[in-house]
Symmetry: C2
């Protein structure tokens, strides 16, 4: 009943809606400023920086994944960064997140990317358990830093 | 005495050497499998996924930064991911890391990227203090997960 396919620019509304639901679920709706047009432009970019996957359940969009190319200086190769994995609340507990992860893993392999990395909220016990069941490993040492807004403007020469 | 410039494919040997020194310093030399050719190819890629900055001190390469394009699903825009910031041990405490960060911030602004993000080792107190002095903020909730090797192969359909 699950079907998976690569997203095209025409899927921008679905990707946008599920990712917005994810932001809301994580309490970050105020930070969600993206538009459907932004998503369509990213998916249509000929450089192929961004990719999306749509999971449908009996034909209805139920979840999405968005990934982009990253570069590992240690391996000297592109790696995959999984930006978002979203399953709509009414479609939870049907294996959709796992199916999305498997599909994304297949894309990584096709594209010669030997590693997928992503961020998870430390409090997201359910997500961590799913990822661990797939063989993913949490790095105990890495923390995420950001520079934005006035601080970024002040630092730029 | 510090001079900064954008790296070209010809700078691949310098970028490679300083990043390798960083890997060694962090105890991850066994994971450093990149070659100079990998770096040259990434810097020459017409998609412009990867960029580098070279800091010289009186004409001698003293430090480097490597960044790549990322995509924020929340903002719908490209953001900058700073993959590595390296200063060779003999050039420490001369403001080179700060100068590299400022140069990278300028590139982000020129390219319309409103955010720079990167990873830092939780034990890297000196690095964290520098970043905090620039106005960067550590996200207390985010952790980094990776899927690679046999687990990635097993998951891919």
């Amino acid at each position: 009943m699950i079907s998976l396919r690569q997203a095209t620019a025409e899927d921008a509304p679905v990707l946008w809606a599920t990712t917005r639901a994810l932001a809301e679920n994580h309490g970050h709706l105020a930070d969600f400023t993206a538009t459907v047009v932004d998503y369509a432009a990213a998916l249509a970019d000929p450089r192929g920086l961004v990719g999306g996957v749509i999971a449908t359940w009996d034909g209805t969009a139920a979840g999405t994944a968005v990934w982009h190319r990253s570069f590992s200086t240690f391996s000297g190769r592109e790696v995959m960064y999984l930006e978002d994995l979203s399953v709509l609340p009414e479609f939870r507990r049907r294996g959709i997140a796992r199916a999305l992860m498997a599909h994304v893993a297949g894309i990584a392999q096709q594209q010669g990317m030997a590693r997928i990395l992503w961020h998870v909220m430390d409090w997201n016990v359910g997500g961590k358990a799913l990822y661990a069941s797939l063989g993913a490993v949490e790095d105990p040492d890495l923390r995420v830093m950001t520079l934005t807004g006035a601080a970024l403007e002040a630092l730029a020469p």
